[in-house]
């Protein structure tokens, strides 16, 4: 810290001087990777101590606590400064990412500290996402370990470009140059493919202070920089101002009828009054007429600035739109390839519908293909059908409507996204976009002259999907049959898609794992939608036990009328009926993943219609359903 001596009368002058110093200070956000054994807590404690952030009476009590512990010349166990961990564990608090602040005369620092072995990948990725630099700690006695490789891979995945290899505990190997050189050589060889822009190896002792602030007399063979001076001076900022202009609209600013502005933060580039701009999605052009802030209008704004843009004409723009310069447009597509870190206990399932958030854009999306999983320890790639917690995979993602994005390498803020669970709202995973899939851009839906309306008119009926869900034996198929018969007898065109029948043909390649069930439902939903497009009333009779899958079916249906019918028959009743003898088999363990027995049934929260199989017989249920869906629907509407 700057210590300008204070006198009351000269406070203002002193402050001005000091402020000028502060203004010149830049901020470095960095991440420390390593476990407690490597001396990470000691290193962070040492940095806090050396930047004089530890107050006098704190020091006194630290010295007391440090008795009987390994200490440096200061008589302090620095790890005590950082480790609130035992206490936190006792309180049952998840230890993930902690942020610590310190500053020196030259720079301000925010350290993301990600302790713990469990959940390491997830926490490191979180910490790395806002870091400019990563310190990879190595215990000089142990050399490059599996975890060193893992840490480095995650840094590379998240795009951290600057790495310090801190070879710690150099005092414990007798300050041996050969040990250090061997470690550095091995690490450089491994890191060659990771795309780091700078890599510096420093032999140090966090405990003793070797090569932290000043050159250590113990390592006369080392000519490189010391840790703190290096952190103070390294130039890490990519010049975001030089990159293409990206302005994600966060909020439409409309205080009255005379003012309509678009508030947001420039993700990259710069913009001036008079610039021509485009809305990335609609390609509608406009000119910037004002750049508004509370401190007055500006003539121009640069990356990182939060401003409000006013355009010279009325253009339809809302939250999620991205304003860009013509000729420098981002990808605009509904498909891209990305690398993802999975962060949830619930595994990733291709085909399942998630919410994707990228900047201010939020759209339904699914993983269409899982290309491979990367082992974070060996960097080997292998085929995979799911991603589990802390796994890293390369995927293709399809969004329900096109979104604007860049590749992560070009622009981290417009090339990164998260996936959100649609029911629990948990953040499931984080991804970085590699590239947009070109073919998706050209993929537009064929629109024909003969459409659903025409076919609905021909048939004189409303094409629609009636989706039954309920346990095996609940009476779905019986009711579906009765309805189909009745509709057919009235001259209406209906068709039943039944779980068992579809599994004999279209879906015979699918088993009963969670992933297979998702794919099963997806295919059926798509077929139902095509049939409805053809003008039919489609009756789908599937157990469809998961809310997510039923939601997916509804989404696939799009603008087609969709009625979710829950046949609510208690498990005991279904099991007592057991028309196909399946429950008995499941109880004997002969069938795996049997809904209600060995696999859950998620009760619909808001079905359109509920039928009570224990209270009504199938004819009553069919009548009830008919009355509510078809009785008055004698014309056609789409």
């Amino acid at each position: 810290m700057a210590s300008v001596p204070m006198t009351a009368s000269s406070a203002e002058t002193a402050l001005e001087l000091w402020l000028a110093e502060q203004t010149d200070k830049s901020l470095l956000r960095f991440l420390t990777c390593g476990s407690v054994d490597d001396g990470k807590s000691t290193l962070i404690g040492r940095l806090l101590y050396d930047s004089q952030l530890i107050l006098d009476d704190q020091l006194a009590s630290l010295r007391k606590e440090s008795r009987n512990r390994t200490t440096g010349d200061e008589g302090i166990d620095f790890s005590l400064l950082v480790d609130g961990l035992t206490a936190e564990r006792e309180q049952g608090i998840t230890i993930d990412v902690a942020y610590r602040f310190f500053s020196t005369d030259k720079r301000k620092f925010i350290v993301a500290d990600t302790p713990g072995h469990e959940q390491y990948t997830r926490n490191m990725a979180t910490g790395a996402s806002n870091a400019d630099l990563g310190i990879v700690l190595i215990d000089a006695r142990k050399g490059v370990l599996t975890q060193t490789r893992r840490h480095s891979f995650i840094l590379s995945l998240i795009g951290v470009k600057h790495v310090v290899l801190a070879v710690n505990k150099i005092d414990l190997v007798g300050h041996d140059a050969d040990v250090f050189n061997a470690i550095e050589a091995e690490y450089r060889e491994f890191a060659r493919e990771l795309g780091f822009e700078t890599l510096v190896a420093i032999p140090l002792s966090a405990l003793k202070g070797d090569n932290i602030l000043t050159p250590s007399p113990q390592t006369p063979w080392y000519n490189g920089p010391q840790l703190v001076p290096y952190l103070e001076s390294i130039e890490v900022a990519t010049d975001r101002v030089e990159q293409p202009f990206r302005f994600p609209v966060q909020w439409v600013n409309r205080p009255n009828l005379d003012f309509r502005g678009f508030s947001g933060t420039l993700a990259s580039g710069e913009v001036k009054v008079g610039d021509d701009i485009l809305v990335a999605a609609s390609r509608k052009p406009a000119k910037i007429s004002r750049i508004v802030t509370m401190d007055g209008d500006q003539q121009h704004a640069i990356a990182g600035e939060a401003v409000t843009l006013v355009l010279d004409r009325e253009v339809d723009i809302s939250r999620g739109d991205v304003l860009v310069h013509p000729g420098q447009t981002p990808d605009y597509s509904n498909q891209f390839q990305a690398r993802m870190v999975w962060m949830s206990d619930e595994q990733a399932i291709p085909g399942r519908s998630y919410l994707l958030k990228l900047g201010a854009q939020q759209v339904p999306a699914s993983i269409t293909a899982l290309k491979f999983r990367t082992n974070v320890n060996t960097l080997e790639q292998s085929a995979a059908t799911t991603l589990e917690l802390n796994e890293v995979g390369t995927v293709t993602i399809a969004t329900d409507k096109p979104i604007a994005f860049d590749s992560y390498g070009d622009n981290p803020l417009t090339g990164s996204f998260i996936l959100i669970d649609r029911i629990s709202n948990a953040t499931l995973g984080a991804g970085v976009i590699e590239y947009g899939l070109q073919r998706a851009k050209n993929l537009s839906y064929q629109s024909f002259d003969v459409n659903r309306r025409v076919r609905a008119e021909m048939k004189g009926q409303t094409p629609q999907i009636v989706w039954f869900t309920g346990l095996s034996g609940s009476g779905k198929s019986t009711v579906a049959n009765l309805i189909e018969k009745r509709l057919t007898s009235e001259g209406r065109h209906a068709y039943i898609l039944d779980g068992d029948n579809v599994r004999h043909g279209l879906n015979k390649d699918l088993g009963f794992t969670d992933e297979a069930r998702v794919e099963n439902i997806r295919r059926v939903a798509e077929v139902a939608r095509l049939m409805a497009d053809a003008g039919l009333i489609v009756i789908v009779s599937f157990i469809s036990p998961f809310r997510n899958e039923r939601r997916l079916a509804r989404e696939v249906a799009g603008d087609v009328k969709f009625t979710e019918v829950f046949v609510n028959t208690p498990l005991e009743v279904c099991e007592a009926r057991d028309p196909k003898g399946l429950y008995a088999k499941a109880r004997r363990g002969e069938i795996n993943n049997f809904t209600g027995i060995s696999s859950p049934y998620e009760t619909p929260e808001k079905p359109d219609i509920v039928l009570h199989g224990a209270l009504q017989d199938p004819v009553q249920m069919a009548d009830d359903l008919y009355a509510r869906v078809f009785e008055w629907d004698t014309g056609y509407s789409i």
Binding site: A8, A14, G84, E305
Partner: protein, 305 residues
């Protein structure tokens, strides 16, 4: 990402932009946000940032003050003046049960008073307003348990903080989704340090209550803590008489529970320089805060900030 490059923003400017972005995200993502306003310096910075975020619009959500009825008189005057000056939609809530029961710091002690008049009052106000996002001025540098607090911190339907159910926050992407009844606490100045707050107040000319500046004030000293006699409800111990001392406050709250520090820093530059120069005065102030710091974790789980 916010590091200063060849051409970039200053440290304070990038903190400011980050906070503005968070404010706008709240306005765009939630149906009924509210901003907590405690009248202190952090709240003053918060208010300033909110005005910047939405200019030329008014702040598009109400501002909530939990009034324990034991705040410094000057704080209340300041609050009402700010509300007028900035056209705020100010909501003031006092726990009616606590008021009826005559809860006060002298008879019931700091813990009971704080619980009933602050924690419970806050919960009442949040329930009554059915707010789905409450914006607060907490910072990560304040204490250890804050260091890992999220910027968007999820609360269940009982306003409780479930440490196991916090969402990872990557880049600037915030997951703002809520189930019915759940809510979010949002901390736009998470990444600011106390020094950042003071230098920003100075750089932007933000108005703060005069209590922060050293003045001659009537005080009594109790176990090393200087308590200001702010009104005639003050209960003197036998033999106690107030005396005038040059003091200022580092944090503002209920006057019988706020300790002042002896200081000559009568203006902003002096305060900042005093903070910089003295390693013990800062410590002294923290000791006085220690009551609230110790139980922060517990308060959070109970639904307080």
């Amino acid at each position: 990402m916010s590091s200063v490059g060849p051409r970039g923003l200053s440290h304070l400017k990038s903190l400011e932009s980050e906070s503005i972005e968070i404010f706008r995200e709240v306005a765009a993502s939630f149906e009924r946000p509210v901003m907590m306003y405690s009248i202190g310096k952090d709240s003053s910075v918060l208010l300033h940032l909110a005005r910047k975020a939405f200019f030329p619009s008014r702040i598009p959500f109400p501002v909530l003050h939990i009034d324990t009825r034991w705040k410094f008189r000057e704080m209340i005057e300041f609050r009402d003046r700010m509300a007028r000056q900035h056209d705020l939609d100010l909501i003031v809530h006092t726990n009616p049960d606590g008021l009826a029961a005559g809860i006060n710091p002298f008879d019931h002690g700091s813990a009971v008073h704080t619980d009933i008049m602050k924690t419970q009052a806050l919960r009442q106000a949040l329930n009554a307003g059915q707010y789905d996002a409450a914006i607060g001025g907490a910072r990560r540098d304040e204490e250890k348990s804050r260091a890992k607090e999220r910027i968007f911190s999820h609360r269940n339907a009982q306003h409780a903080w479930d440490p196991k159910n916090q969402r990872p926050e990557l880049w600037r992407i915030f997951n703002t989704r809520l189930a019915p009844g759940e809510s979010m606490r949002v901390f736009p100045i998470s990444n600011w340090t106390e020094l950042d707050v003071w230098t920003y107040i100075y750089a932007e000319g933000i108005e703060i209550p005069d209590l922060y500046f050293a003045r001659r004030r009537p005080v009594v000293e109790r176990s090393g803590t200087l308590i200001m006699v702010d009104d005639d409800r003050f209960r003197f111990n036998p033999g106690e008489t107030p005396r005038e001392e040059m003091i200022r406050f580092r944090t503002l709250g209920c006057y019988p529970l706020s300790g002042g520090i002896r200081s000559d820093a009568a203006d902003l530059p002096s305060i900042i320089m005093e903070m910089q120069a003295s390693r013990t005065s800062e410590r002294e102030g923290r000791l006085i805060d220690s009551d609230s710091v110790g139980s922060m974790e517990k308060k959070k789980q109970e639904g307080y900030f």
